[in-house]
């Protein structure tokens, strides 16, 4: 929080909160068992941050990501996305926010198998009512930025893992979201490709899009600016990543 108070006015502080969680609880009920996963999370992520969420399995990191992505509901507390309270949303409203505010990148890419790369990238625009011709054109532009223009009419099973993830990233960006949520985006990739993907995320982040990456790989998290450790449903600790520290220190030196 100390970082925030360095800003000029209260107005701008409020405005800069991209994600605001307060006392967030979430439990799953399976049969007679109640599994308390998130136990009162407080978290603020500013616009333009590149954050990674780490934690062992069962720490609640995927659940957190699902709540942030409005893919799942929560029980207690509140969640504000870009200053809008995300609670009691109708399916339609939730779909609207997902479409306009959030881009998803998954570990298993989750491309639609019977659509080619361009059509997969263009799909979010279909749900925004953009005409076929126009959305395919935009999709081509994004694929070009990913260096995949000549792969546009290939089906997902003809692409390598890294290529598929880049298609998925292009898809997450095409609707110009405020936040990109990535769930173990490098989990299925080899280390070289992983680093390439992380470079891509950094590049996207530099254009002002907030990115939150869930990972259990330390070297991946070190590529982000801020690392949040989850343990048993609460935030155990939080660091500015060494990279960011050296960057900032370097900036002061100059």
């Amino acid at each position: 929080m100390y970082r925030l108070f360095r800003n000029n006015s209260l107005y701008s502080i409020i405005n800069l909160f991209m994600i605001e969680l307060k006392g967030l609880h979430k439990s799953y009920i399976t049969g007679n068992n109640k599994l308390h996963v998130l136990k009162g999370l407080d978290l603020i992520i500013e616009q333009g941050e590149l954050v990674s969420v780490m934690g062992s399995s069962g720490s609640g990191k995927s659940t957190l990501l699902n709540v942030l992505g409005i893919l799942d509901s929560y029980d207690e507390g509140y969640y504000k996305l870009n200053n809008t309270l995300m609670s009691n949303l109708t399916e339609k409203k939730a779909a609207h926010y997902r479409n306009n505010m959030i881009g998803f990148v998954f570990q298993s890419f989750n491309l639609i198998s019977f659509k080619n790369a361009m059509e997969n990238v263009a799909l979010p625009l279909y749900y925004q009512g953009v005409s076929r011709k126009k959305r395919n054109q935009i999709a081509l532009e994004y694929l070009d930025r990913m260096g995949l223009k000549e792969w546009a009419d290939h089906m997902p099973n003809e692409l390598s893992g890294g290529q598929m993830q880049r298609v998925a990233i292009a898809r997450s960006m095409i609707s110009k979201p405020k936040v990109i949520l990535a769930d173990e985006p490098t989990g299925a990739l080899d280390s070289t490709t992983s680093l390439e993907v992380m470079d891509l995320f950094r590049e996207i982040n530099s254009s002002g899009i907030t990115i939150i990456i869930v990972t259990h790989e330390k070297d991946i998290s070190e590529k982000t600016d801020r690392i949040i450790y989850l343990k048993d449903g609460i935030i155990e600790s939080e660091f500015i990543s060494p990279r960011k520290v050296s960057e900032t220190v370097g900036a002061y030196r100059n």
Partner: protein, 413 residues
């Protein structure tokens, strides 16, 4: 509802999932195809067998005189019963629900009929005008015998279309021409035809009974009486038969238990039996048809359930990307409606085409199979039923899939 982009999306989904589309479509098309072939064949069989019977009115009753076999009031058995015009008049008076009645006098001797140099042997029937409706001998040219012909004992004749063919060569119209019956000229006033496979029914010459009795020394003799009575159940018809017998017994002095004194041929009884048989066949066809449709419905439902299950992950992805539940449900439904309608139509067309080919290749005089007509309204309602059930079968799992949280849908690997 009509959104070109949505349809393009649906078409591209269909195009890229050919096997699934084919399987769904096939079960619908096959169901409709089988139903049409079944209904058409059933109808064809029925028409074919039906054409083997006389085309007489279904409710006609024929009465023939016989010889007594039981002594009655001192009269020895063996007496010939003779009908006269009086019997005809009496029946006309006595029977309340009488619809049609005609008596007939048989001319003795040869039945050679000639027109100029053409000869032929044809059945000569002497009749009352009502015979038109008892025999179902409807004029296709000119007219039938009428009441004035009877009153004035006119020498007129109505000939069957096969008689026309045999005597009047080169397509000459027989109306107004004179044919000779036992050397006596009769003016042809009409040509009739019957919807029957039995050629004998169309090789007859009708002349007024009064004329025949006068010219051929018949006096008031009648050889048989044919009549039809309005709407009777089979039981009523049997009771009516008993009454008829009693009436003749009283008027002709014979024991009403005597079953050789007169003979009654009740068409209604015969036809009832065949109708029962046909009803059985029809029921059988419907049971199989409904079974086929149910099999089709189950097939479509199964495939739809599997399709939706198979697409759960895709639905999850689409939802994560921002698809609303309704957009998912509606696209699955539109896809299934499109496939089932199209496949239903194909089944319909193929079924009708097959029946047409069969109808063309069956010989016209086939005794077993004729005019396999298809009741289009039945075929179309069956198609619609399949479309609706396919839609419904798709709707329930689609609705459930659209309700599943994307997390859950995406989880399964």
């Amino acid at each position: 509802m009509f959104d070109i982009d949505k349809w393009q999306e649906i078409f591209s989904t269909i195009q890229k999932n050919k096997l699934r589309t084919f399987l769904t479509g096939f079960s619908v098309a096959w169901g409709i195809f089988m139903l049409i072939v079944l209904l058409g064949s059933g109808k064809g069989l029925e028409n074919g067998i039906h054409s083997n019977f006389d085309a007489d009115a279904a409710n006609s009753i024929w009465i023939f005189p016989g010889q007594t076999s039981i002594p009655y009031k001192g009269i020895q058995p063996g007496k010939y019963v003779r009908f006269t015009n009086e019997d005809y008049e009496r029946l006309k008076r006595e029977i309340k629900n009488l619809e049609r009645i005609s008596s007939r006098y048989d001319i003795r001797g040869n039945d050679l009929i000639s027109y100029k140099n053409e000869y032929g042997s044809f059945g000569i029937n002497t009749i009352h005008p009502d015979m038109e409706f008892i025999e179902n001998s409807f004029p296709i040219k000119g007219r039938f015998i009428n009441n004035i012909d009877i009153e004035k004992s006119r020498k007129v004749a109505v000939i069957g279309d096969l008689v026309d063919e045999a005597l009047f060569k080169n397509g000459k119209s027989p109306i107004g021409e004179y044919i000779k019956i036992k050397g006596i000229p009769f003016k042809v006033v009409g040509v009739y035809s019957e919807n029957s496979n039995n050629d004998g029914e169309r090789r007859r010459v009708y002349i007024p009974i009064s004329t025949a009795q006068m010219i051929f020394d018949g006096g008031n003799r009648v050889n048989n009486i044919a009549l039809s009575v309005k709407d009777m159940t089979l039981d009523e018809s049997k009771q009516f038969e008993e009454k008829l017998k009693a009436s003749f017994a009283a008027n002709h002095n014979f024991d009403k238990e005597d079953d050789r004194a007169i003979f009654i041929r009740n068409n209604q009884e015969n036809i009832k039996e065949f109708q029962n048989a046909f009803q059985g066949i029809r029921l059988f066809i419907w049971v199989i048809g409904i079974g086929t449709i149910i099999a089709g419905i189950v097939g479509v439902s199964n495939i739809m359930i599997i399709v939706v299950k198979e697409r759960t992950k895709e639905i999850g992805i689409r939802k994560a990307i921002g698809a609303t539940p309704w957009s998912i449900v509606s696209s699955i439904l539109q896809e299934s409606i499109l496939i089932t309608s199209f496949a239903g139509y194909i089944g319909l067309v193929l079924g009708v085409a097959l029946m047409e080919i069969i109808a063309k290749n069956v010989p016209a005089d086939s005794m077993m199979f004729k005019n396999p007509e298809i009741d289009m309204s039945v075929a179309i309602s069956a198609t619609i039923l399949l479309i609706i059930s396919g839609t419904f079968a798709g709707y329930i799992p689609a609705r459930r899939a659209a309700k599943i949280k994307p997390v859950v849908a995406l989880r399964d690997e």
